[in-house]
Amino acid sequence: MGSSGASGDLSGEMEVDAFRRLFPLRFYERHLLESVRPDARPLGRARDTTVALGAVATADGSAMAKIGCTTMLAAIKLEVMTPPLDSSDEGSVAIDFHMPPICSPIVRPGRPAEVAPVVSKQLSDAIISSGMINLKELSLVSGKAAWMAYLDIYCLDADGALFDAALLAAVAAFSHLQIPAVTVNDDGRVVIMSGENEEGKLLKDPVNKEKRKLTLTCIPFSLTCILHKNYILADPTAEEESVMETPVTVVLDSSSRLVSLYKPGGPVLAYMSAVQDCVALTRQRVKELQKILSDAISDMEVD
């Protein structure tokens, strides 16, 4: 901890932890002067990030993403629907972000966190508008049946940068998603083809002959930064988010095109140069995240 300077402020009368709780902003500003953060990161660096695919056995695709202590578990379950008339050859994706009471002291049962629906909406916007998924690939029988992909993301541990971790878990879950082989039975319902109903299978034509994966193009990745005075802090922790209240979230796709930029107010009015710095940080971060995701995918294929 590079905090010896902070306690020296009150000539050692107060312990570091007490100072941190009583004067959080001054505690942080002392660190920022030295261009370091309490967890020993430089301002522009994100926390250690890991992705593990296939965490949930009951889902068709799943992933767990960790950025520092922030942990997200995403799982996709495929169900069959009749596609609406105006998009008869397309499937659909429904995205929901949950913050169960286990994840943070702020959330209590029956009183859901206010940020949850906000993150939920941001996630669907980023995923749908990036064009990562070709909805036509989710079609089964044009006009009759298509896949509805229910993506549920659970925050297991909330320690800042929730959107970044949730988006990472979501795209990882989609890259792990396997569409099962299905066939249409006599009642006109789509059922999974399993080895056991061998004799029945011969009579009907399989709609989807073998398990397949989606082809993902332009995968979106994001980085949230906190603006405070002239400082830009990448990938904030929950404590940093609570002390300094101007977040900027940049979403770029894998070829560094801007998908969305989100600055929900806050006391710092950003100059364009600050926003450009955020975008530049995100561009670096996208490269890191791409590598982490592709490593996770290749680890999965070896197993």
């Binding site: 949930v56 629907m81 009749t82 286990i102 916007d125 549920d152 320690d159 099962p180 059922v191």
Partner: protein
């Protein structure tokens, strides 16, 4: 996207409906779906400190049953609460939407919440945190059978991790009665065909039972046998949990 959800189409799962496999359980000799012996528990994986934001937490994995429990507090009680000399315990159990093979609603499980509360209440020294509340929240990530006993055991581990004073660890094991056989620590499939079930929650080193739930059809000698089985398994689980806590404590000292 929001425009589409307004007219959310009805969907259904393409998984085949459950096959009738009940007859197998009626025979005297059959093999459990996961190949265990009748009186053999699933291997337990336990770890404390799963959630950093909580005062204490634990993750438990028994076969396919995966549970996280977070403990918050002791902290201020809700304003509407009356004054209380002793501490309060507040429990909540919820499921993820993907916990079960068919996608669920992921809502709170009221029955389990109250069962968890009753199972833990007697073990916690509530006098040690007067006027405040300890919150115990559980999330079932994947439901693979015997969910409640796993939640209860995991919750007591999380309470210990949070440093909440207890008389003893609380461990819980259930037994299903399937025809002529008793199977311990049943998986979902076995639970769905059971004739009766027995769940015991106890404090193993004090040899005290905090909760006993008996449902279905039982004969007296069967009950005796099942209780013995459960208590034996509970004390073994207690040892596993104790060694998990010791490991965590020695790791944090280093």
């Amino acid at each position: 996207m929001s425009g589409k959800t307004a007219t959310a189409p009805t969907t259904y799962s393409p998984s085949p409906t459950q096959k009738k496999r009940q007859p197998i359980f009626k025979d005297v000799d059959w093999i459990r779906p996961d190949g265990r012996g009748f009186h053999q528990c699933r291997p337990a994986f336990l770890r404390t400190g799963a959630v950093n934001a909580a005062a204490g937490s634990a993750y438990a994995e028994f076969g396919n049953t995966k549970v996280i429990v977070s403990v918050f507090g002791p902290r201020e009680s809700k304003k509407a609460m009356m004054y209380s000399d002793i501490g309060r315990l507040n429990c909540n159990v919820s499921y993820t939407t993907f916990a079960t093979p068919v996608r669920g609603q992921g809502s709170d499980h009221k029955e389990f919440s109250s069962m968890l509360h009753k199972a833990l209440e007697g073990a916690i020294i509530l006098e040690s945190f007067p006027k405040t509340t300890v919150d115990v929240f559980a999330l079932v990530l994947e439901s693979g059978g015997s969910d409640l006993p796993v939640v209860i055991s995991c919750a007591s581990l999380a309470l210990a991790d949070a440093g909440i004073m207890m008389y003893d660890l609380v461990t819980s094991v259930s037994v299903s009665c399937l025809g002529a056989n008793l199977v311990i620590d049943p998986i979902s499939e076995e639970e769905s065909y059971q004739d009766g079930s027995l769940l015991i929650t106890c404090m193993p080193s004090r040899n005290e039972v905090t909760q006993l739930t008996l449902t279905g059809e039982w004969s007296t000698p069967k009950i005796h046998e099942a209780v013995e089985l459960c208590l034996d398994a509970c004390s073994k689980l207690g040892d596993v949990m104790r060694s998990c806590l010791k490991e965590a404590a020695s790791a944090s000292q280093e």
